[in-house]
Structures are given as C-alpha cells and as structure tokens.
C-alpha cells in the first residue's frame, strides 16, 4: 500500500470509483478524528456532505394521479449518475425517529446536467412509506438516505430495435425511465407499450404518453382501462402487436400478470427475450410462517418453519453466523436483512429489507435473504 492509498484508506470504502483530492483530504482528516470520520462532523454542518453513505434532498413532490406522485431528489456528494434506465434505488426516509427503507424505480434518465433524479411512488394501502410520501407529509428540503441504483431490469445501450413494454399500475415507473432515456437520446426505436390501469385518472404519466405517441410514429402507446374494458388478454397480443414474438419484452406489474406473461413466453419458447421486475408488496399483517432463507455471503439456503430462529436456520444450513447470548440482549448476532420479511419472536414486530436484525430472536416471515 502506497502512502496515498494509506491516507485515503479510511475514506476509500465510501466512493471507490471517484478518487479525488477530496478523498485524500477526507482520509487524512479521518486519521485525526478517529474513531469518528470527518463525516461525523461534516454532516452536522450540511447533511449532504456525507461521504459515508449516499444522501439526497427532496426538491419537489409533484402529484401524478390521485394516489401517486413523482419525487424529485437532488443527490449529495458521491452519487453516480451513470445508472441504467429501469433500475431502482433504495431510499431511506426518517419518520417518527426511525429510518424506513424502500426501493423505488427511477423515472429520470441518467443525467449529469441538472444532477437530479426522480422516482415515482404510488400509495399502497398496505405501504406505510408510500402513503407517507404521496400524502404530502414529506416537504421539499427533506433529507433522505439513498442506496446505489441497482437491478437487472434495465435497458441496454443502445436499445434493441424492437421493444414491447407490458405494464400495469405503478409497474409503469421503470418503463417510464426507459422511455424518457430513449427519447432524450433521440433514439426511440420501434416501441409498443401496453399499459393497464383501472380508470383514466389512474394512468400515471398519461399526458406524457400521449405526447410521445403523437411525436414519434414508431412509439405506440396502448392504454387498457380495465374497469371499462376488462383485463388485457395476452391472447389478443397477435392482433395488438403481431410481431410480439420477435420483440425484446419488458414487463412490470402485479405478480399474477407477470406469472401469466412468463407462462406464455415460456410456452412460445421465447422467454430469453423476456425481462421482468417483480415488486414484492410490503405486508403489514405478516406472521412468522417460515419460508426459504438465503444466506447471501455463505451461499446457503434452507427452508424453515416460523418457530425456527434465523440464527438456528443459519447454523443448520452451515452458514457462518455470528452468535452470542441467544436471548436477544447482546446484539452480537445482528445481520442486515437484504430482502423479504422477518418477525421479532418476542414482540411480533415486523422487519423489512434494509433493517439489521437480531437473528437469535427473529424468524422468517416468508422467503427472505440475509447478508451472512
């Protein structure tokens, strides 16, 4: 390790991609402020000056429909705008003393110029955070935590020549990000977009879809209003989009729709052209009913019942689990919950992804993944 590396080391874990003089300075300062990082002081002055984790400031909350809104965020130091359209971002919001984490699709094209990103959020009756965001309880200026954009549901660059998008409800959000990106780059190819929503007033980005449809002859937007016209039938694809089998397809929406699509594409033997995003809806009445637990680092998987603690599950599967008192007091067995739900067996409280949980007193509530 050279001297420069050594000085940078304390700050290096933060933004490895963007090495700069600032990192050198931060690293040097970290040597002085150990065990705290310069961040611990800097973000007291300005919360966006954190290099330890990504942050952003909400600059606008713009209603889309009655129960959905676009949230525009200006990310702070170290955010990489080089994401792929269609990816989602983790966002942490402070409500009543707790940080709540959820993932939402990015609707903004990757953009270095105005250095802002946007997500679109639909209020779900069971989604605590989404209702909070849409309901106007979060004023502009609010600081949020951000996780790096991720996800495989993404549009390649350049995009394929023929595209089919099938979306329903808030499933339109990642596709909106893709459409805007292609439009911005002036490379909107032959795109067929079929979108379902209950009524006209439920269609997110309705005006924008109409405008795109009018501007680009290669872009066809078909909106199915399900309360009036019924569910969109996949069997009608041959009429609506005769060459659907040749197209690269991106689908996003409720799980039953996606399952159906998957079956059809498989039956046609063209499922290699299908890209899907499954939104797991956050449950509020979750019970410890067990499930398949995946231990990411150890690469182990095990199916357990709702009475088995995640610590026991890990040990049974052969994963390397930190452990301690086994009664929930010592906090040495705490690991992050990467996805899914877990339940505190003592209080029955639910944990969602992005939280760090005590494995010795928590059980799986459905399938979940642990960072262990």
């Amino acid at each position: 390790m050279g001297l420069k590396d050594w000085i940078e080391a304390p700050a290096a874990s933060v933004v490895p991609a963007a090495r700069s003089k600032l990192n050198l300075l931060r690293g040097a300062a970290a040597r002085l402020t150990t065990p705290l990082l310069p961040d611990d002081y800097l973000h007291l002055a300005n919360p966006l000056w954190s290099a330890r984790e990504l942050r952003g400031r909400i600059v606008e909350v713009r209603p889309e429909t009655q129960d959905s809104a676009t949230i525009v965020i200006k990310p702070g130091w170290g955010f990489d705008f080089n994401y792929q359209p269609g990816q989602y971002i983790g966002i942490g919001l402070h409500v009543d003393g707790r940080w709540h984490w959820r993932s939402y699709s990015l609707t903004s094209p990757p953009n270095w110029e105005n250095k802002k990103i946007s997500i679109a959020v639909k209020a779900m009756p069971e989604g605590f955070l989404s209702s909070h965001l849409v309901g106007g309880a979060v004023p502009s200026g609010t600081i949020v935590r951000l996780a790096t954009p991720s996800g495989n549901f993404a549009l390649p660059d350049p995009p394929p020549e023929k595209i089919l998008f099938i979306t329903a409800g808030s499933g339109i959000t990642p596709v909106m990000g893709m459409l805007r990106t292609m439009n911005r780059r002036g490379q909107l190819p032959d795109v067929m977009h079929i979108h379902s929503a209950p009524t006209e007033s439920d269609v997110m980005f309705a005006d924008e879809l109409t405008a795109l449809h009018a501007e680009h002859e290669d872009f066809v937007s078909k909106v199915q209003l399900t309360r009036r016209d019924g569910k969109f039938k996949l069997s009608s694809l041959d009429q609506v989009c005769p060459d659907w089998r040749e197209r690269q397809t991106w689908a996003c929406g409720p799980l039953p729709l996606l399952d159906e699509i998957e079956d059809v594409w498989k039956a046609e033997g063209i499922d290699d052209r299908l890209h899907m995003e499954r939104f797991a809806v956050s449950r509020i009445d979750a019970e410890a009913d067990g499930g398949t637990v995946t231990f990411e680092k150890s690469g182990k998987t095990i199916t357990v019942d709702g009475a088995t603690t995640l610590l026991e599950a890990g040990e049974k599967s052969g994963a390397l689990m930190p452990f301690g008192c086994r009664m929930g007091i010592c906090q040495t067995c705490v690991v992050p919950l990467v996805s899914g739900h877990a339940i505190d067996l003592r209080s029955g409280k639910q944990h969602v992804e992005g939280e760090r949980i005590q494995t010795c007193i928590s059980a799986a509530a459905g399938d979940c993944t642990l960072d262990a």
């Binding site: 002085l32 150990t34 402070h94 940080w99 301690g324 010592c330 906090q331 705490v334």
Partner: protein, 420 residues
C-alpha cells in the same frame, strides 16, 4: 458461597417469579411501542453536544501553552470523552438505538474512542457480562481478573497488593478493559495463547495504533509549539475519563447488596429468573439529569441490566416502575449516593485483600457474597424465616413479606442491643 437458589434467597415462589417476569415483559413492550421521535432527538442532541465539546476542546488546546486555555481544553475534552464513552459508545453498542435503523447510530457500526476495538468489547461485555452477570467463574467482569471481589475466590498472598492494583486499574481503566476484552475475543476466536498474528491481536494492534496515534502523536504535532501542553492535556483527559468510568462501573456491581451467584444457580435458570438475577446483581446510585448523562444512565444499573437494549433516556421512567415492583414483591432495590456506593465497593476491595481468617462475617452472610444459606443459619431461622414462611403477607398491612423484610430483620437482630 454465593447464591445457589435464587428463588429461596429472594423468598419468592416459582409463580411469584413468573408474575414478576410478566410485569417486566410488559414494561419492555410499553417502552418498545413508545420509542419515537422524542428519543431520536435525544440521542442526536447528545451526539451534537459531544462533537461540539470535542471540537471546542481540540481548538482550545492550540493555545494550551497558556494555562487557562489548557484548563478549558482539558475540561472540554474530558467531558467529551466521558459522554462519548458512557452515553454514546456504551449504549449505542448495546443496540439501544438500533431500532432507529440509522446506520450511523447502530451497534454494528459504532467505533468508540477507547483503546479496545468495539468488536472485542461487545463480545466480552454485551455477551459474557450481560448474559452471565455476577455468576462467579463465568462473569469475568467480577474484578476483571485483577481484583478479588468475592470470597468465593480463594485468597492468595498477591491479594495483599489489591489496594495498589485498584488504583492502577482505575487510572488505566481503558487499557484494563481493552486487555480484558482481548482475552475474551481471543478465547472466542480460539486462537492459541502465543499466536501473535491472530485476528484478535491484529484488530487490537490496529485500534491502538489509531487511538494512541491520534491523542499522543497527531494532535500534539498539529498544535506545533504547543505540542507538549497538548500532550499533557490529552493524557489528562484520558485519565479523567478512565477514573470516572471506573467509578461508575464499580458502583454498578460491587456495592453491598449487589449479589453474586454460583454456576449451579445459573444452569437451571428460567428466563424470568434471569431478570431476577439481573435485579439482585446490580446496584444503582442516585442521579439527576446531568449525572444520568455523564454516567451513560448507568446510575440506573438495575434497569440497564434488566433491559440492556432499551434506550438509556428511558431508564428514569422504567426506574419508577421497577421500584414499585420491588416494593410489591418485597425485594431490595439497591441504591444510594454515588459517594456511598463507591465507598462500599472500596471497602470490599480493601477487605478482600486480607485472608478470610481475618474477616468476621461468614461467606454466606458477607455483604459481597450472601446466599440463601444466611437464612438457614440457626438463630435467624426463627426470627426471619419462620415469619417469612408462615406469614407471606403481613396480617396488619396486607403487604407481602419477603427478602427485604427478612434482610432487615436479620440486620436488626444482629445489632447490639442499646442500653436503656
């Protein structure tokens, strides 16, 4: 001998212990349900205050060649280190603030301003000490392997030096803790004694390098011509913090009334008996808001040991309920002034430096190790036990009669009769 049967000692039936446990479970749930913005604001405010103190102290020390600046800088830095150690480091690493889901105020990520790595400390303290609290032979915090704090440990001639060892431990407390935690970490890791390049040793070396480098090399160097006075100021601040932490910790488990337990008792313990052991094994000292902050609310050691992972700012309100429970079940609630509690601990340290033959009380009745046998000794059986067994409730007041009454009546009967 220490307590081998906590139910007999506490004069409670199995059903009583369960009832007590259920009430404590309820207290926990009530606090968990009511954690919110008010608590989050509290911890953030403490963090801001601590960082301001630290910055102020470091700044003042640039002028530390002038005596008033040295004094101000040292005082600010000492305060900062005390708060960082007690209310922040200790409590955050207990997971008291994990519920906020804030990665920066979380037991997984917090590193504290002490020589020992926090990872080691969490193993030795959160796990071993808080699980096996005051179980002789299992809780290494009993005397930290240096002091003889219970008569269950056989006396050795080296114990005669105990008063000196105590002073050295107090002055170098962070190092005592660090070495103590290193031993625990190495043991858990399973590394051989002479293995220098074990993970535990490497983590330890790295932490010392940063910690010592910061206070004794980098900051003095940074103040240029004032390096010497900055060095003494930093050393003083560390010393002040060490002494204070030592006093607070010693007041938590070593005053009279904080009981010890045997491995036999621990082995058959139920979850609710664990609560009872924590209650009887800990001691409080009186504190207001400021003293609460400066001691990391370890002035509420009893509450802390029963609920180590509930936010410290809630201990005062838990204490009100805890006292009421102790009264209801006629259990002692060991508390006193900081001064008194420390003197009691100090008395034990000095007393146990001497061989047992020089001591008056039997092991079962000695204040630092009493056991249920004290109530079986002849002479007391009639006075205390008979009353307790036959009349579990006082016929006049209807109050439960239990351990506290028994201890009081025993103490009374031992007192010499006053001449009329």
């Amino acid at each position: 001998m220490a307590i081998t049967d906590i139910k007999e000692f506490s004069h409670l039936t199995a059903a009583d212990v369960e009832a007590l446990g259920r009430e404590l479970d309820q207290i926990r749930l009530d606090i968990e349900d009511s954690r919110g913005i008010r608590d989050a604001r509290y911890i953030r405010r403490v963090i801001r205050v601590q960082r301001a103190l630290e910055l102020g102290g470091r700044m003042a020390l640039f002028g530390s060649r002038y005596r008033p600046a040295w004094l101000a800088g040292t005082a600010l830095l000492s305060l900062s280190k005390i708060i960082e150690n007690m209310e922040l480091g200790h409590n955050v690493m207990h997971g008291q603030w994990d519920w906020m889901n804030d990665p920066e105020i979380h037991s997984c990520s917090w590193e504290w301003d002490q020589t020992g790595p926090s990872e080691h400390w969490k193993r030795a303290h959160n796990y071993q000490h808080h699980t096996y609290t005051n179980v002789v032979g299992m809780d290494d915090d009993l005397g930290f392997g240096i002091l003889r704090m219970t008569r269950d440990e056989p006396w050795k001639p080296i114990n005669l030096l105990q008063p000196v060892a105590n002073v050295i431990l107090a002055a170098t407390f962070e190092w005592g803790i660090a070495l103590h935690d290193l031993t625990a970490a190495s043991k858990l890791e399973g590394s051989a004694k002479g293995q220098l390049n074990s993970q535990a040793n490497k983590d330890f070396a790295r932490k010392i390098f940063h910690q010592v480098g910061k206070d004794f090399v980098l900051f003095p160097a940074l103040t240029g011509p004032a390096w010497k006075s900055t060095l003494t100021a930093n050393a003083t601040a560390n010393l002040v913090r060490n002494l204070w932490a030592y006093v607070v910790i010693f007041c938590g488990h070593f005053p009279d009334g904080a009981e010890k337990f045997t491995v036999a008792e621990f082995e058959q313990e139920t979850r609710h008996e664990w609560y009872l052991r924590q209650m009887l094994g800990s001691a409080n000292f009186n504190s207001g808001k400021l003293m609460g902050l400066m001691s990391g609310n370890l002035s509420y050691q009893i509450e802390h040991h029963v609920f180590p992972d509930l936010p410290s700012n809630r201990y005062p309100e838990i204490a009100v309920k805890m006292r009421a429970l102790c009264e209801k079940f006629d259990l002692p609630y060991t508390t006193g002034s900081l001064f008194k509690q420390y003197l009691l601990a100090l008395r034990t340290i000095h007393k146990l430096a001497l061989p047992d033959t020089w001591l008056i009380a039997t092991s079962d009745r000695a204040p630092e190790t009493s056991s249920e046998l004290r109530f079986r000794e002849s002479g007391f059986k009639d006075a205390a036990m008979a009353m307790v067994e036959d009349l579990r409730t006082d016929p006049v007041t209807g109050k439960r009669v239990g351990l506290l009454t028994a201890l009081k009546s025993q103490a009374r009967s031992r007192m010499p009769k006053r001449k009329k």
